[in-house]
Symmetry: C2
Subunit: 415 residues, 2 copies
Amino acid sequence: MQFSSPPYVTGLKCLICGATYAHGNVFTCPRCGIEGILDVQYDYSKIDNSQFTIHNSPLNIWRYNNLLPVSPDLHPPHLHVGWTPVYDAKRLAKHLGVRKLFIKDDGRNPSNSFKDRASSVGVMKALEFGYKTIACASTGNAASSLACMSAAVGLQSYIFVPARAPEPKVTQLLIFGATVIKVQGTYEQAFDLCREACEKFGWYNRNSGTNPFLVEGKKTAGLEIAEQMKDDVPDWVVVSVGDGCTIGGIGKGLQEMKRLGVITGVPKLLGVQAEGAKPMYEAFYSGKELVPSDTNTIADSIAVGTPRNWRRAIHQIRQSNGEMITVSDEEILEAMRATARLGGVFGEPAGIASAAGLKKALAQNMIKPHESALVVVTGNGLKDIQSAKQAAGEALSIAPNLDALANALSEKLGM
Amino acid sequence: MQFSSPPYVTGLKCLICGATYAHGNVFTCPRCGIEGILDVQYDYSKIDNSQFTIHNSPLNIWRYNNLLPVSPDLHPPHLHVGWTPVYDAKRLAKHLGVRKLFIKDDGRNPSNSFKDRASSVGVMKALEFGYKTIACASTGNAASSLACMSAAVGLQSYIFVPARAPEPKVTQLLIFGATVIKVQGTYEQAFDLCREACEKFGWYNRNSGTNPFLVEGKKTAGLEIAEQMKDDVPDWVVVSVGDGCTIGGIGKGLQEMKRLGVITGVPKLLGVQAEGAKPMYEAFYSGKELVPSDTNTIADSIAVGTPRNWRRAIHQIRQSNGEMITVSDEEILEAMRATARLGGVFGEPAGIASAAGLKKALAQNMIKPHESALVVVTGNGLKDIQSAKQAAGEALSIAPNLDALANALSEKLGM
């Protein structure tokens, strides 16, 4: 069966050499090789922005279907993706010393991470191009997300995970019926093996780094931030950075909403990397080509030594007049506590690195106390309970009687 | 500071003796003791149901504020509670042999369980009555939910958990800043100790079984089901049953929406208990008083030997012309796989017992193939990863090369 093409997509353009290609089952630029990420192009003059402000558009990412590379002939997965809540976190703002602090909780997507935005577009592209099987390599969230979305639409999924992927994430994708291949090696090795396997076995490759359509799904977070915040656009949008696709996508979404007249200016992007995995931070401030690095951080979802989409990420951060910053694991754990205890949101380390980055940027006067910021929390804390335990503290254990309780409270808490 | 009372609440009525009491800081009926659960009464004639159909009512539980016992002077927690998605799960319906199957995924609440509906009302009552501290005993979800909502509004929380509470749930509530007291005993002992501690230390008691306001929060799931499904009201609503508050609340919500003219008939309730914890099932079919039982099931959230709200639950099930059923742990694990793989929803064992019950009810012809059913999934599977591992299967572990992959696929999967 042949499906019609996405109606407003005009083609794909290489982010390095600028060559353009027709819409189709393409990956990176043949001229520039694996580094030549393609960017989906639209005819914005034909897109009516009134769909973003009317009540009968669905409150999920498909309200933006005209800005997505999906065929109108295909039904999206039935799961509710996107339009995640934005919270005005007053107590956390006061604690951090910033005028206004908003939290966008993307841990509330179907598989509990931001990646569902990309995977839902990915499975639609696989169906459009006639595949029955889809694969990806992931440190965890893209994997569980792809397993979830594949289950929703009835695709088979093969997932390549590095040896260090946290158990809850692996369990999550096994329960969704994925075939899980634990690669005795790094994320980079899992990534390469997945690409080879897709070629050999004829599977569709969902990897956000090289698949040009996935980042369009991630873009929806930027589209949403613009629409949800258009009456009070934050000065900064703070995003943790691993592969570069998330911040690159959010930046693209914000720029599109400016182009379509939904917002008049684009917030500055603050990209946050872990101190133990900061090749993009180095490239951003050196102005040179990215140099791959080792990785050593509890924030597994952004522990990426060879980010595939670094050009897009750095381009978007610069275009927004933004900055980058790095945070230590200890700062991430502290931010996990603060965001949960003062904001009511429990995020995983990589998802909360953004909040740690905001705190540090305030301390360095990179972000000013009179400014406002929106922090994107990209994954639920339940996804990595071992790290959360490091941040959380200990329970009191007592015999079941009031005396034991009174003793424990007075001894341990000084009550 | 004095807050005005909930405007449409007329009083509280004992579910045993029928005595009525004025709205205030009350718990169970003084005449009937701890068994005398009080039910919040409203003047329905004054409630305008148009708020449930207009777009500018918020898409969360506070669209029903007139049907909730909350003071209009207080702001609800800033977290987005309720209005969880309902999915038309076609592939799972076909697999189970039922005409239509809807899944309402309440694992997508802020702390990833249904209990956020109750806790958000609970913290508002604590603030209304002037408390600075709130406590509860819980097998897990009510606890993490209360910790989350307390963090959101700035209340201190003390949580009593039984020794067997799963680690992810305990970690979740520690990260939200709760003081956690692990009681070396059963849920029942934790429950009693919490009640004594609240009296001794002057804390507000959030326990759903005896606190009359909490079940009103749970009711919102029934209100939502009525509003979300009013054009295609399912024949059955299937709910797992532990303490009885959840199904009792959902039943009350559905009855109220019938009374207010939003739906014309109330779906039959199917209450599902674990085989290893079925005192309510026994009481339902014997027609006698409930006899407390031992508990032995992986479905920890419904492993309740002494359900506090059994009268309300049984009353609501009977009023709906409903039924009860029990399921084994093996049936729950099988339903976890099927619901994830065919429905795209990963629930915890207690949250998925409902889906297992639907399958069994179809096999017993209690529910007919031509009928439709809505299954409430009450908690996210990430909350109990140890049980999920039992259901999930194993990953393949290979060296990072294509030959190792081809070998593993051909050996283990016959490809």
